[in-house]
């Protein structure tokens, strides 16, 4: 903990700035970008968080470091070390399966690989076979659910210090993140959500979902079809032609619009490892992090996609109050500050929607989003604003969109953004 306490907010900011720039222009030569950055500090921060692993690491990712903006080398490490526990031993995997299902591994599957094929967020995935089908069996690390709460409690003050935030202002965000992280340890919940989303998205032809096998699923084990394909980051880094990239990007866009606007239940962790490209289709895996929203919240949150808000101060103010971003106690100067910020944010984040057809390869767009975030973090006036602002649900909605934009940027896809978004603009 002493290590973390020594890592100040300034280091965190520099770290983010460095990563943001590198992500936007990965081909640029490194030395130029390294000027002005204390690289040793950045590595120390990353090293410290990855050593904490589990809850703390995920919390850090949630609050500040979107792994999609990290430079490839670090992003790869973050992706691999999502929980960063050593792999489960074969005797432990065997025991977990026997404990969960009351049958030996041999009775449960025709074949089961003792070594994990790859890691998952808080577990690992094994290849198995049953009735001629190749299966992916996800086994959770024992004790994670128990540790999650205490891990979060331990890291919270440190994260606050690094980010320069006050506890009372973001308490509701922590509660939200904690609730989602705890949900993630219940694979039975993941099964239910996965089936709900898959059923509701059955009409999207380009999006595929694995079959789950409920009689081999429990709170700690999930069994589903094994799908061959490339994870989205590897696909994006490959040499797929533009038309194909656009196709996959469109599938991803339509999938998200459908979930958020029609289903009001969405896959809230748009991490490239959660998507595969298989046989020209987008396949969605890992429903560990999903978020349901009420129609009421949905209406308020997406009222921001109305371009008329940008022209009318009155309407913008009303919308901000309805989302608890503007609070009754705010004076005129604070109000102006927040509304200016909101105006800039809304313009930027709704640009893809208003364009009708948007090229996500455009580096200036991602850079503008990043710069906005950084400017906000360094803004003294903004940091001095008190009060618990914003709705807790926004954390994951914003993360979902932010992540979506980052994925599409990586894909360099050109997407029709007017399709599928049910009466959003001009609502």
């Amino acid at each position: 903990m002493a290590e973390l306490a020594g890592t100040g907010a300034r280091v965190g900011l520099n770290y983010l700035k460095y990563y943001g720039q590198r992500a936007i222009s990965p081909q640029t030569s490194e030395p130029a970008l390294r000027v002005g950055l204390d690289e040793v500090n950045a590595r120390a921060v990353y090293g410290t968080f990855s050593r904490l692993k589990g809850g703390p690491l995920k919390l850090a990712q949630m609050l500040s470091m979107d792994e999609n903006l990290l430079p490839p080398a670090y992003a790869a490490q973050f992706a691999q070390s999502q929980y960063s526990a050593p792999p489960l031993s074969w005797p432990l995997v065997r025991r977990t399966l026997e404990r969960e299902f009351g049958q030996s591994v041999e009775a449960l599957y025709d074949h089961f690989s003792p070594e994990a094929a790859h890691g998952a967020s808080i577990g690992q995935v094994h290849i198995a076979r049953r009735a001629g089908k190749k299966l992916a069996v996800k086994v959770q690390y024992p004790g994670v659910a128990e540790s999650m709460r205490s891990d979060l409690r331990v890291v919270k003050p440190v994260a606050l210090q690094i980010l320069g935030l006050r506890e009372e202002d973001i308490a509701h965000y922590f509660t939200e993140v904690e609730a989602r992280l705890l949900e993630e340890t219940d694979y039975a919940m993941e099964l239910r959500r996965a089936q709900e989303i898959a059923d509701a998205c059955a009409d999207l032809p380009q999006v595929r979902f694995p079959n789950f096998y409920p009689d081999r699923c429990s709170a700690r084990v999930l069994t589903m079809d094994w799908i061959e394909g490339l994870t989205l980051d590897r696909y994006a880094a490959g040499d797929a032609p533009q038309a194909e990239r656009d196709h996959i990007g469109q599938a991803l866009w339509d999938f998200y619009q459908h979930q958020i606007h029609v289903l009001h239940l969405f896959h809230a962790d748009p991490h490239p490892g959660n998507f595969l490209v298989s046989e020209g289709h987008l396949c969605v895996l890992d429903f560990g992090c999903t978020r349901a929203i009420t129609p009421e919240f949905h209406a308020k949150q997406f009222a921001f996609l109305n371009p008329e808000l940008l022209e009318s101060n009155q309407r913008l103010e009303t919308a901000l109050r309805s989302m608890d971003v503007l609070l009754p106690g705010d004076g005129p100067a604070q109000q102006t500050k927040i509304m200016d910020l909101a105006r800039t944010s809304v313009e930027l984040l709704t640009r893809p929607f208003r364009a009708g057809r948007f090229d996500f390869a455009d580096p200036s767009f991602i850079r503008a989003i990043y710069d906005l975030g950084e400017a906000n973090r360094q803004d003294r006036e903004l940091l001095s604003l008190r009060g618990a602002r914003g709705r807790a649900e926004s954390v994951y909605v914003n993360r979902a969109f932010f992540g979506l934009f980052s994925l599409l940027h990586r894909l360099r896809a050109v997407v029709d953004t007017g399709r599928g978004s049910v009466s959003i603009v001009g609502a």
Binding site: R51, L52, K53, A85, P86, L88, S89, W90, P91, L92, R94, R95, T96, E98, R99, F101, G102, Q103, S104, Y141, P142, G143, A145, E146, S147, S150, D151, R153, V154, A188, R192, Q195, E196, D199, A200, P214, D215, C217, S218, R220
Partner: protein, 249 residues
């Protein structure tokens, strides 16, 4: 669509009940001794345990014990040198059964020493669920380094088993001989057994999951120490334990 989800949930729950029954059947099978006790020894053992479990203390005197059982003292002393020996022998029998169950596993001969110790400890804590109240009685208030007289025969049996596995590990190069330090290894494994038991008795996580994690991490640390690896696993174990320590603080 909601109906579909609900049907799946109901089916899952129905299956679960059936499976819980099965778990008990698998592990009760382990309780059948590979070498059946002669009838008198078995009666003595059962009567002793019955009194221990129901009264919370062992039989007070040989005389009364024999009288209740309807045997003579001579018959008793033909089987056991003292009342305490009954319990010692029973605990040893429990250890024997666990060892037998893992050694007769199909993968045993292919397992490394580390994997064998893991498999053994998992089987051990599973078997311990049948005797939790007795374990609490005998070990619940003792630190892992404090001796437990009732466990002396069990620990001897375990140590024999542990030495065999260490030899197995040495032949495979998994465990490194470090001269005088090597003599410590069996003692370390005995301490591990006691630590795992202590942890298990205090564990209140669902399905005792945390004990599984503790076993995994401590075996890793111990075998890394006995082997050639660096000590990252120590940090992992500490991190696993630290939140708990901070909770108690």
């Amino acid at each position: 669509m909601v109906h579909l989800v609900r049907r799946i949930n109901l089916a899952f729950l129905a299956g679960l009940e059936h499976r819980v029954g099965k778990v008990r059947r698998i592990f009760y099978a382990m309780d059948q001794t590979p070498h059946e006790l002669p009838p008198l020894r078995q009666r003595i053992e059962e009567a002793y345990l019955h009194e221990l479990r129901s009264e919370g203390r062992p039989p007070v005197s040989v005389f009364r014990f024999c009288h209740r059982l309807g045997i003579t003292e001579r018959e008793f002393y033909a089987e056991y040198p003292a009342l305490e020996a009954v319990e010692r022998h029973w605990w040893r029998g429990m250890m024997e059964r666990v060892i037998h169950s893992v050694e007769s596993g199909a993968e045993w001969s292919d397992f490394s020493a580390r994997q064998r110790m893991l498999a053994f400890l998992f089987a051990y804590v599973e078997a311990a669920l049948d005797h939790r109240s007795l374990l609490l009685m005998r070990l619940g208030h003792k630190a892992p380094i404090q001796p437990v007289p009732e466990w002396s025969a069990l620990e001897e049996r375990f140590e024999d088993f542990a030495r065999l596995q260490l030899m197995h590990g040495r032949t495979r190069g998994e465990i490194v001989s470090r001269g005088p330090l090597t003599a410590v290894y069996p003692k370390a494994l005995r301490l591990l057994l006691r630590s795992v038991t202590a942890f298990h008795l205090k564990d209140d996580s669902p399905k005792f999951e945390r004990t599984d994690a503790f076993i995994e991490k401590s075996v890793t640390v111990l075998f890394d120490l006995m082997g050639r690896q660096a000590l990252d696993s120590g940090f992992d174990l500490l991190r696993f334990l630290v939140p708990g320590m901070m909770r108690r603080a």
